[in-house]
């Protein structure tokens, strides 16, 4: 199996534009020697400003980078340049015999991965832990009771005057929820400030937001009476983190996972990378979140439109979507069409089923079959072969890719609008929203 990579994928790996630019200048055969690749890795030596060439290698499982240069950027420009060179001139990578410096690194990485997988959760002070959990539970309960009072005031007065309120109006209850250790609810309250300013039909959106909060409060009040999976959904919606090791200890799902879409949300200095995977065999969707602060790069390098043979574990819930990667066994060729593509009616059945199972689901994945984007006078829509429609976030790249003809799309549905993340058209995949931090 030959490793291949596209420039879009490389762009998404670069820590910043300067690195990418520097990498492009270096991605020239005259700068490199000892180029080679095998199923697991690619490598080469780059003549830089130092006397000895830098030894650069990329492990495809990750992908992970290693370079002998002193750069603190990660991946460094040499690693990116090596990938660019592979994308442009794969024939230059003649050697298939990994030299010692590559083989030893790969071996140590494999050992570390095994050790990590074998690592079990250390001994925990159960008593202290349950006390902390109890304290948090009662703080949250108090916070949610206060929120309900605040909501009652809000609906007693009516929503008509809401758009004229300042940010304080929303920030104060949101801050109290943060203090009550319910950051998930605080975020929903802060979002209401932008709903109030979101223009036409804001009233409907506001009513939906209020209704979902009330459902959350009411659910939390009787959480003990609810099924275990719904309890987990409530905890997630409130913002109680699930320890990663608990997730990784649950049942793993091995499949060829297609990276169907990716986008980056920026909230102040925190950036969240949302990567959607679809199982190529079982067609199940999973959401991998990765976080980075400032200009740091993300830990999971999932390349849009690539395929990984991986084991993933889902976070608990009644309709689980969020997942964590337990192990990656290798890369595979991308399928020729987005897996699981559906008509709009079928996609909405999925949305309904997921919303019924977990009413606090915010963004749901869907891969749509043969939909045509329409930029009409009454807004942007996708239209499927049956004439059904759904509003879509305006995107001229999407429109250009379609040219007015049906395309297959993968994207997110937030209950209001579809956000296209990947198009499959003209026999290739085209990432949309690439690098966008909306």
């Amino acid at each position: 199996m030959a490793i291949s990579v596209t420039s879009d994928q490389i762009n998404s790996l670069a820590p910043d534009a300067a690195s990418l630019k520097a990498a492009r200048s270096l991605a020239s055969p005259r700068t490199w020697s000892e180029l080679g690749r095998d199923d697991r890795a690619i490598w080469g030596a780059c003549q830089g400003s130092a006397k000895d060439p830098y030894r650069t290698q990329v492990d495809w499982q990750g992908p992970a980078f290693k370079c002998t240069c002193p750069s603190r950027k990660f991946p460094c420009k040499h690693g990116l340049a090596l990938l660019l060179l592979l994308a442009e001139q794969p024939a230059l990578f003649i050697s298939t015999e990994a030299p010692e410096w590559v083989a030893s690194w790969i071996q140590s990485r494999s050992q570390r991965a095994e050790a990590k997988a074998a690592e079990t959760a250390g001994p925990v002070d159960e008593a202290a832990r349950s006390k902390r959990v109890e304290q948090r539970f009662s703080r949250i309960s108090q916070g949610l009771e206060d929120l309900e009072l605040w909501l009652r005031d809000l609906v007693e007065q009516g929503l008509a005057s809401v758009p004229s309120r300042g940010f304080d109006f929303w920030d104060t209850p949101a801050a109290r929820l943060v203090d009550a250790q319910a950051p998930g609810v605080a975020r929903r309250v802060r979002q209401m400030a932008s709903i109030a300013a979101s223009g036409e039909a804001w009233q409907t959106r506001m009513l939906h937001a209020i209704a979902q909060l009330e459902l959350l409060i009411a659910g939390w009040r009787r959480i003990d009476a609810l099924p275990e999976a719904t309890q987990a959904d409530l905890r997630t919606a409130v913002g109680i983190p699930v320890p990663q090791e608990d997730v990784l200890a649950s049942t793993a799902h091995r499949d060829l996972w297609f990276v169907a879409g990716q986008r980056i949300d920026a909230d102040d200095r925190l950036r969240v990378q949302r990567s959607w995977l679809i199982g190529a065999i079982k067609e199940r969707a999973a959401l991998i979140l990765d976080f980075a602060v400032g200009t740091a790069s993300f830990k999971t390098n999932l390349l849009p439109a690539s395929v990984i043979d991986a084991e993933i574990c889902f976070f608990p819930g009644a309709a689980p979507l969020r997942a964590a990667i337990r192990a990656i066994h290798g890369a595979a060729d991308a399928p020729s069409i987005v897996p699981g593509r559906k008509s709009l009616a079928a996609a909405f059945e999925d949305f309904g089923a997921r919303s019924a199972a977990n009413p606090w689901t915010e963004n749901q994945p869907a891969s749509l079959h043969a939909v045509t984007p329409i930029a009409g006078p009454s807004g942007w829509f996708l239209r499927d072969a049956a004439g059904a429609g759904v509003p879509v976030r305006p995107d001229f790249t999407l429109l250009a890719v379609s040219g007015g003809l049906p395309v297959d799309l993968f994207g997110e549905w937030n209950g209001e609008q579809f956000l296209a993340l990947l198009a499959s058209a003209h026999g290739r995949y085209i990432p949309l929203q690439a690098g966008s931090a909306a």
């Binding site: 442009e88 005031d153 009516g158 008509a160 209704a211 709009l344 930029a375 759904v390 250009a400 040219g403």
Partner: protein, 496 residues
């Protein structure tokens, strides 16, 4: 009134003013799961009842949402018969759009030359680029093809793509900008039709529009335009007359040129002087006056402010400037350099050389441009307008001939005097001189500008130094751009 509508009304007005009727459902219809759930909503106050009812209704609706009917389809983009550029070429386009905007014209011209189109997803960025820069509009429009035209129809900023409609409605109803754009394009494809259209509206156009249309007649200019241009010499507006005369002085044999020759008849003579009369000298008998006919041919009466010429010399020089310079070579049976030499021997050198220079530029008379450049310019200066009137190869030859001892000055002149794609030889020579004259402290800024401009003009077919052998740090970027351009160009040539 549905429950949904009642919830909405209550939400806006507030439960204090407008409490939700309770129980909110009419049970006669028999219970849906929603009705049953609503029946269990408590009775702890109007606000709480509202919140709980809303929570149930919204959850119920979300779980049963269906798609709505879509708006009708509009026609798709016409098919583009060209194939998409290679993935490699597309990668270079993405890089150009992201960080090397100055190379966009080159990418577009490579694509047009190769007969391939840019990838679909690049069109929004290309159209944005064209919106921001007039010079890019035509290449973007042509490279983008039918898909660009189709896409542009849905964005108000991109209407320029379709603004050059082939139909003549733009001509009749458009703004002056649209009409000039239409006229310019039509002039390039069908000059006679463009002229006819202009003649049809000529009398009704204001002077400024007449001038702008006349100025847009450069493309496709031929002797067929002469009757129209001759008529324009009688225009009410002096500016329009001058533009018409400028056109008429650019194709020979024009009637205007013939009239000028007749006026100069006998006024320019070769005489002999010096020891044994070996030196040829040109003598000039300047015009005594400007009559009405001369004024009609746009001979200006008043010399420009600060001119070195007296009125009579000024009039005469304008007449010489309208005559193809080869006329004099034929008349006196002497070459351009010989005539220039003879002019310099007499007292009328400035008048003659000034007139010939304008004429040589107007008629693109290469032998004259070269002769004037060699003999006329001061050492160390570069008469840019003479160089710019030459084709690229001749320009480079002339520029290399003009290389003198002050290498730094020569270098700084190259980008302004040779704004065309340099040949490999010229580029190599440029690099050689560059190596010999590294930037001095005081010229760092000019050098940076020179290298930035030069990196876009220079041929990428030269030996690129290894990255560590650069003799100067400022050159890193120069060679970086050059090497990028070479790889970009290679991306368009099929692998050999």
């Amino acid at each position: 009134m549905t429950l949904r509508a009642r919830l909405h009304a209550t939400a806006l007005l507030g439960t204090a003013q407008h409490p939700l009727d309770f129980p909110p459902v009419d049970f006669t219809a028999g219970g849906s799961p929603l009705d049953e759930a609503l029946a269990r909503v408590g009775s702890t106050g109007a606000a709480q009842r509202f919140l709980e009812s809303a929570a149930l209704l919204v959850a119920y609706e979300r779980a049963g949402a269906t798609p709505s009917p879509a708006p009708p389809l509009s026609p798709a983009a016409e098919e583009d018969s060209r194939s998409r550029c290679s993935r490699k070429a597309a990668g270079y386009l993405a890089a150009v759009l992201a960080e090397r905007r100055a190379l966009l014209p080159e990418w577009l011209s490579l694509a047009l030359a190769a007969g391939v189109r840019p990838p679909e997803e690049s069109l929004p960025a290309l159209l944005e680029a064209g919106t921001g820069a007039w010079a890019l509009r035509d290449p973007v429009r042509r490279a983008g093809g039918p898909l660009a035209k189709w896409l542009a129809a849905s964005h108000p900023d991109w209407l320029w793509v379709g603004a050059v409609a082939e139909d003549e409605s733009a001509w009749e109803t458009g703004t002056i900008e649209e009409r000039v754009a239409f006229f310019t394009r039509l002039r390039a494809s069908n000059p006679a039709r463009a002229r006819e259209l202009l003649q049809g509206v000529w009398a009704a156009e204001p002077a400024d529009s007449r001038r702008r249309f006349l100025e847009a007649m450069n493309a496709g200019r031929s002797v067929e335009d002469e009757p129209f241009l001759e008529a324009a010499l009688d225009d009410r507006s002096a500016v329009v007359r001058r533009v018409a005369a400028e056109h008429l002085a650019r194709f020979a044999p024009s009637r205007l040129c013939e009239r000028m020759k007749a006026r100069l008849e006998g006024r320019i003579r070769i005489a002999r002087s010096g020891f044994l009369g070996r030196k040829a000298v040109i003598e000039v008998e300047p015009f005594e006056d400007v009559d009405a006919a001369m004024a009609r041919d746009a001979i200006e009466k008043k010399p420009p402010a600060g001119s070195q010429f007296g009125a009579r010399a000024w009039w005469t020089m304008q007449a010489i400037a309208a005559v193809h310079p080869s006329y004099w070579a034929g008349l006196f049976e002497r070459s351009a350099p010989e005539l220039i030499e003879a002019a310099k021997n007499g007292q009328w050198a400035d008048l003659l050389l000034g007139g010939w220079q304008s004429a040589a530029i107007r008629y693109r008379a290469l032998d004259w441009l070269e002769a004037l450049l060699d003999q006329f310019a001061e050492p160390g200066t570069w008469p840019t307008d003479l160089l710019l009137a030459m084709p690229g190869a001749a320009r480079e030859r002339a520029m290399l001939r003009k290389y003198d001892a002050d290498g730094a000055k020569w270098l700084l002149a190259t980008a302004a005097c040779c704004p065309h794609a340099w040949s490999a030889e010229f580029t190599a020579r440029f690099l050689e001189i560059l190596e010999r004259y590294p930037a001095q402290e005081t010229m760092q800024y000019q050098y940076r500008e020179l290298l930035r401009a030069g990196s876009l003009l220079a041929s990428s077919d030269v030996q690129l130094p290894p990255p560590d052998a650069l003799f100067e740090r400022t050159l890193v970027e120069f060679f970086d751009t050059l090497s990028f351009r070479r790889r970009m160009r290679d991306a368009f040539t099929p692998r050999t």
